[in-house]
């Protein structure tokens, strides 16, 4: 039995060695591919971006602040770094890492309803933890188990949906990403029948919003805080809308909140209760332009 045990242990050791060697080799290969991709976070991590308009937020930022249209209306280079489930805390880390490797943007548009989001995207961005110190620090604080797992087993960083997007957008930009479907009557009816609810906030997100405001002021970046439209049948059930917006504004040091939460009523412009679609994205960007939301005076912001 001793021989059998020795054989089994030897095999286990060889397997462990091969697994670890392969882990380091494959993750190095993946890292190099990661930085070559045209996916939004790869573009930011690669550095050297001349972007003078940066978009941050969760999926509502992705779909509500449609980068190609913003680019057409402003004539500025736009990089939409918003992503599904991006909380304000994660947005702050993404912004800090961006500023380390790229030119200071002229303006940052932040879709602020992400103050209610949990920080699940932090784990989704595991493959960028080794590329950005702010994200890595946030991971150590908010996801210590995963942070340890990634440092021990590098391939684990590639677990999730985002590495698939990195691969998919290897040779083409993802900046035209927007929901391309229309809300169904069943979803509208469901929203109409729903119970009343309250919008929430997370303290750490509000604190991050305050820090982002300060950072923007220090770096001379015009910070635009915006609430993009919700489906009217959905938002009608919100009991604390005004109070919620005021709370966000207070956290942002009194910065103006451009509230378009109730601004769109045409159902054709929505993909679901929370998101505009490609039909709604373009006219909404035009509405922003008409309202002066996209008129930046960088010098005024610096002053």
């Amino acid at each position: 039995m001793r021989d059998a045990l020795r054989t089994a242990l030897f095999r286990l050791a060889v397997l462990a060695a091969c697994v670890l060697a392969g882990d380091r080799a494959l993750s190095a290969l993946f890292d190099s591919q990661l930085l070559r991709s045209q996916f939004r976070f790869s573009v930011a991590a690669r550095g050297g971006q001349p972007a003078n308009l940066l978009v941050l937020g969760d999926s509502r930022g992705v779909n509500g602040l449609y980068a190609p249209e913003l680019e057409r209306l402003t004539g500025m280079h736009v990089l939409n770094l918003a992503y599904n489930g991006m909380s304000t805390l994660v947005a702050e880390a993404v912004l800090r890492d961006y500023l380390q490797r790229n030119e200071t943007p002229r303006a940052v548009l932040l879709e602020v309803t992400n103050v209610q989001d949990a920080h699940t995207l932090l784990n989704g961005l595991m493959c960028y933890w080794r590329q950005g110190p702010a994200l890595a620090a946030l991971a150590r604080e908010w996801s210590p188990l995963n942070a340890r797992a990634v440092s021990a087993f590098h391939l684990y960083a590639y677990n999730g949906e985002i590495p698939m997007r990195v691969l998919f957008y290897r040779n083409r930009s993802d900046q035209d990403w927007i929901n391309r479907y229309r809300i169904s009557p069943a979803v509208i009816e469901d929203a109409r029948q729903a119970s009343d609810f309250e919008f929430a906030t997370r303290d750490e997100n509000l604190a991050a919003l305050g820090r982002m405001t300060t950072l923007a002021r220090e770096r001379g970046i015009a910070l635009r805080l915006v609430v993009v439209p919700y489906l009217p049948e959905f938002v009608a059930h919100a009991r604390n809308w005004d109070g919620w917006i005021q709370r966000i504004q207070a956290a942002a040091g009194g910065e103006r909140i451009w509230d378009y939460g109730h601004a769109v009523t045409d159902h054709a412009h929505f993909a679901d209760r929370l998101h505009l679609n490609e039909v709604g994205g373009v006219p909404f960007a035009e509405l922003l332009a008409r309202d002066g939301f996209l008129a930046f005076d960088a010098r005024a912001a610096r002053e």
Partner: protein, 475 residues
């Protein structure tokens, strides 16, 4: 304690070291106590029930064997079966029975007050009850002699690798392996390790990746288009297979490492070309249990066609109910019973017609395979849906919202990942039919090492580390 939990990652190596360091009765005690610890990790209050059923069947088994009078033997058997089934019925089906009775009374115009008890469903009760009952039945039938040692019998019933979700290992299969120490064999342990690793991949990478896509479809079917619902049904078929067969592979693999052979529980069921073949490949330990102790006891196919059909339907209906306290499970079993009956009735005529039309064998097998797979998928809708209403909404959605377009499918990257994983499973299972090729591969240490490493890397990149429960735990 879940196999896919950090606690088990500590528990198993610690147990294994102690297991190797001990011999004879000490090893049996260690295994038994570790198994009870493993079980008590969920809720220690459930242990007395397990002890009671174990002791009952142990002593009834002995008494049945010693009793010369057939009538008293039958009475003793009835005591065991009635007690086991009554416990199962109480813990698992009480609320279902009460709700069904109230529903029936309401339909007949009577109002019956609601009765609610705080009943905790003991994990794995369906599995260990069937296992323990089969021991008494085998002793009664004279197929085995009773086990003289309560310690050994209790270990066979409670062995942690199969305790909570099977396979339902018959006493006649496992008890002989507990006589004497199982020697550690490097080859068998390596094969067990590989099987467990593949089981972890199936559970954590495939089943758990498909779960959120399936859950979303079945949570609110009217909100989804036909294509998404159809994908949800296909994904559920793969999810439940990988979840349960993954668990089984882990259980069988760990058992092999300990030196036990618990048999086979799944044999690539979705490659079946008939429904009867499907049931010879799916959850084999349950289907063979139902065949041996229920279908054959009812008369099997020995009493004419009509009685055979009735026996098939009854067996599958009870098999459906075994899975859970809900009429949807009964409907699932009923559908499979219907498939088996129809297949049995029409097969000869079909075979003659196909032979006359000279349809190539490959085409027949392919068409049969697709038919069986879709029949099984259709039945899964009832198995997965919480209510008949939801099942109907899924079917209606697939049938009426027919704009089968991927453009409408949300979470496309998750869907793409799910399709990729389904492809991996299909390729591996298809390749495993090439037995000569597999044997050549397995004879090369480098190939085995590479495939094991590939599975570990696959788990790292593709698995979901949510510690999700195994679906069959609820049964």
């Amino acid at each position: 304690m879940l196999f896919n939990s950090l606690a088990f990652l500590v528990f198993f190596p610690a147990f294994f070291v102690a297991y190797l360091a001990t011999r004879g009765v000490v090893r049996l005690w260690l295994t038994l106590l570790a198994s009870y610890f493993f079980y008590a990790w969920w809720d220690w209050r459930l242990l007395p029930l397990l002890w009671f059923q174990t002791a009952l069947d142990f002593f009834v088994g002995r008494a049945v064997y010693r009793m010369p009078d057939p009538r008293r033997r039958r009475r003793l058997l009835a005591v065991s079966l009635t007690t086991n089934l009554a416990l199962l019925a109480f813990f698992k089906y009480f609320h279902f029975g009460v709700a069904s009775a109230r529903g029936l009374a309401h339909w007949l115009g009577f109002e019956v007050p609601e009765v609610t008890l705080q009943i905790l469903l003991p994990v794995g009760i369906s599995f260990y009850t069937f296992q323990s009952m089969s021991y008494v039945l085998d002793v009664y039938r004279g197929e085995i002699e009773p086990e003289p040692s309560l310690l050994r019998f209790a270990t066979a019933v409670a062995l942690f690798v199969h305790l909570v979700a099977g396979p339902i290992v018959r006493a006649r299969h496992l008890l002989p392996q507990l006589h004497g120490d199982r020697p550690f064999d490097a080859e068998i342990a390596t094969a067990g390790f590989e099987q467990a690793l593949w089981g972890f991949f199936k559970k954590m990478a495939i089943a758990d990746s498909l779960a959120p896509l399936v859950d979303a479809q079945f949570a609110a079917p009217p909100l989804h288009d036909g294509m998404s619902l159809l994908l949800g049904v296909y994904f559920y078929a793969v999810q439940i297979y990988c979840d349960f067969s993954g668990y089984t592979d882990i259980a069988l693999g760990l058992a092999k490492i300990l030196g036990y052979d618990l048999g086979v529980n799944f044999d690539r069921p979705y490659f079946s070309t008939s429904f009867s073949e499907f049931w010879r490949r799916w959850h084999i330990s349950l289907s063979s249990w139902l065949r041996d102790y229920l279908y054959i006891s009812l008369g099997g196919n020995r009493r004419g066609s009509a009685r055979t059909y009735v026996n098939l339907m009854l067996t599958m209906l009870i098999g459906g109910l075994w899975h859970g306290a809900n009429w949807t499970f009964v409907a699932w079993g009923g559908l499979h019973g219907l498939y088996l009956v129809v297949e049995r009735a029409l097969r000869p005529a079909f075979a003659r017609a196909l032979a006359a039309a000279r349809v190539p064998d490959f085409a027949v097998r392919l068409a049969s395979g697709l038919l069986v797979f879709h029949g099984v998928c259709f039945a899964w809708i009832f198995f997965r849906a919480q209510t008949f209403g939801i099942a109907w909404q899924v079917i209606e959605g697939i049938a009426t919202r027919t704009q089968l377009s991927f453009a409408q499918v949300p979470d496309k990257f998750l869907v793409a990942k799910a399709l990729l994983l389904c492809g991996v499973l299909f390729a591996v299972e298809l390749a495993s039919f090439q037995t000569a090729w597999v044997a050549r591969l397995r004879a090369r240490p480098v190939a085995r090492l590479a495939s094991a490493a590939l599975v570990v890397w696959g788990i790292a990149v593709l698995a979901t580390f949510s510690g999700a429960n195994f679906i069959y735990f609820q049964f």
